[in-house]
Every structure is written in C-alpha cells, then in structure tokens.
Amino acid sequence: MKAIVRVRLKSGILDPQGKAVNNALHHLGYNEIQDVRIGKLIELTIENGSAGNIQNRLQEASHKLLANPIIEDYEIEIIEENK
C-alpha cells in the first residue's frame, strides 16, 4: 500500500521559489500562467495489512514531522494496490 502526502505552503505565505519559476515561465513566453506555488510530494510505502487506523497514523506523522502546521498545509492520499 502506498500513501502520498502533499505538503504546500499555506495560502497567505509568500513562496519566493514559485515566484522565481513564474518569472522564468514568463521569459519563456508562457504568459498565460499567472502564478506558481511549489510544494512537496512525499511518497510513503506502507506495510500491507496495516490499514486499520492508518489514516490517523499518517495524520499524526504529517502533523509531527512531514509538515510544519504553522506554515504548511498537507493532504494525505492512501492508495490501495490492486493485485
């Protein structure tokens, strides 16, 4: 089983990296792009059969370590693998 945690800066927080990429895109002529914000995608491989409260466990792990809730939001997606 896999899980994907997407971490991004909260909406009010300036993302200078996104701004720089936005400018670079404009230099390349992609002027229709209005804003860029960059986050992190964290892919976790999880022991099969640990389904139970995995959502809660990942919530806890994200809150404790994967994201800093003062500046970042996160979303967790659990992907069951079909055999």
Partner: protein
C-alpha cells in the same frame, strides 16, 4: 557556569560557539545529540549549521534527536537556552519558540553583516549590552525569513518577546535593512518565560574586533550576569 553545545550531524558553528564561550569565560563542553542528560549544565547552546542536511525543513529532523526531550525538560526548569541560526530553526520546530523560518525572500543564501536593534534590553540575554548603537553581527543563512501570523505577532509584541530587529546602520527599521523578508524585521525572539532565545544572526562570530566586530560579546556577558544573579535557582540538586 557550565555550558553545553549540542552537536548534531551537520552542525558547523559548534567550534565558533565553543571559542566564544571559552574566550568569554564560560566553561563549555560539546554534547553529542544522542546523549540525553543535561543535568550538569546551566546553559545550552544550539549552534548553527545544517543539522541532518536541512532535509525536509531546516531543524525538522534535529527536533527528534534524543537530546531534544531532555532539552525540553532543561528549558522547563528555567535554565538558559540560546539557539543561533540553525539552532533557532530547531527551537521553532520544537515549539520552544513561536513562529517558523522560511526561505529567504530573495532565495539567496545570505552571508553578510547586519545591524540589530535591541528591542528588549531587559532580558537575560541583553541586560548587559551597553552599546549605544545597533549591534554589528554577521548572518549566514538561506532560511532566515521569520514568519509569524498576525495573532502571534501581537502576542510577541504584548509580551515584549521581540528581542532583536534588523535595522540600518543608524537604527532605522527600513525595508533595505531587512535581509531576508522577516515579518516585522524580526531577527530574534525570546520565550514568554524569558529563558530561551533564538536568533538568526551569529553573535559567536562577533567576539573579536580583529574579525570585524566584538558586539556579540555583550550577549554572552548578559547570560553570565543573569546566571550569577539567579545562581540559586540553578543549583544542581
């Protein structure tokens, strides 16, 4: 007064800190992050560097080192903690200090001299500063953009927890003097209880005028005097 300098994998200002503390008459010792006993110490210094390569977020992984649980106990007993640069990042990650440190607004790693205005001259870390102009102290960081939300900022103000602000040479907080985009020019904050200080600039690199400035000396001197004043509270039972 005994000082511990916590060494994480990737710390790189631990020797500068050791030098500063020694020169200024503190008894200093390195403590590896896997240790878990700080009973003998009165001051803990979290030095600059790139603990755990700054993976994930600066300070995020160091926060879970064995020594950090002990550091929480140490701080809760009212002993002194100073976190500089990466040490400040670790202190915000552990929530010993409010706020967070973001990437510098201009995305560059900044290695330069800044000027700091002492906003609260009554703390354990500033009371002996007797310099009638902004302190001249170097910075060296990529993620020093202090962020705190409006409610948090109001609380910092109300409790006089903002200790240092970036200013120009004449002491004015103007946009050009803010190197990294920090909220309200904040360069250093203290906890409510007044025993934990975090700052991005490096006072331990400013203890010798031959190397550009000795203004950092007054911070370490303040800690020593605060300790001598409160010696009883620090007794190692």
């Amino acid at each position: 007064m005994k000082s511990a300098i916590i060494v994480f994998p990737g710390s790189n200002c631990d020797h500068d800190m050791y030098h500063a503390l020694q020169v200024l008459g503190h008894d200093a010792e390195y403590v590896w992050h896997k240790n878990s006993n700080l009973d003998d110490f009165d001051l803990v210094a979290l030095p600059g560097g790139f603990s755990y390569g700054d993976y994930l977020r600066a300070g995020a992984i160091a926060h879970f080192s064995p020594i950090m649980q002990e550091l929480l106990r140490f701080a809760n007993r009212g002993r002194f903690v100073i976190g500089i640069c990466n040490g400040f990042q670790v202190l915000t990650e552990t929530k010993l200090l409010p706020g967070a440190l973001l990437r510098n607004q201009n995305l560059r790693f900044l290695c330069q001299t800044v000027y700091l205005r002492v906003e609260n001259p009554k703390t354990n870390f500033t009371a002996a500063i007797d310099i009638p102009r902004p302190l001249k102290i170097p910075i060296a960081h990529g993620e020093g953009n202090y962020f705190i939300d409006t409610a948090g900022l109001n609380e910092l103000e109300a409790n006089q927890q903002i200790v240092f602000r970036y200013v120009d040479r004449d002491g004015n907080a103007v946009p050009e003097a803010n190197p990294n985009g920090s909220t309200d020019y904040i360069a250093g904050v203290i906890n409510k209880e007044g025993n934990v200080l975090g700052m991005m600039p490096h006072p331990e690199r400013a203890v010798d005028s031959l190397l550009g400035s000795s203004d950092g000396t007054a911070i370490f001197e303040s800690i020593k005097q605060a300790y001598l004043k409160n010696r009883k509270a620090f007794s190692h039972a």
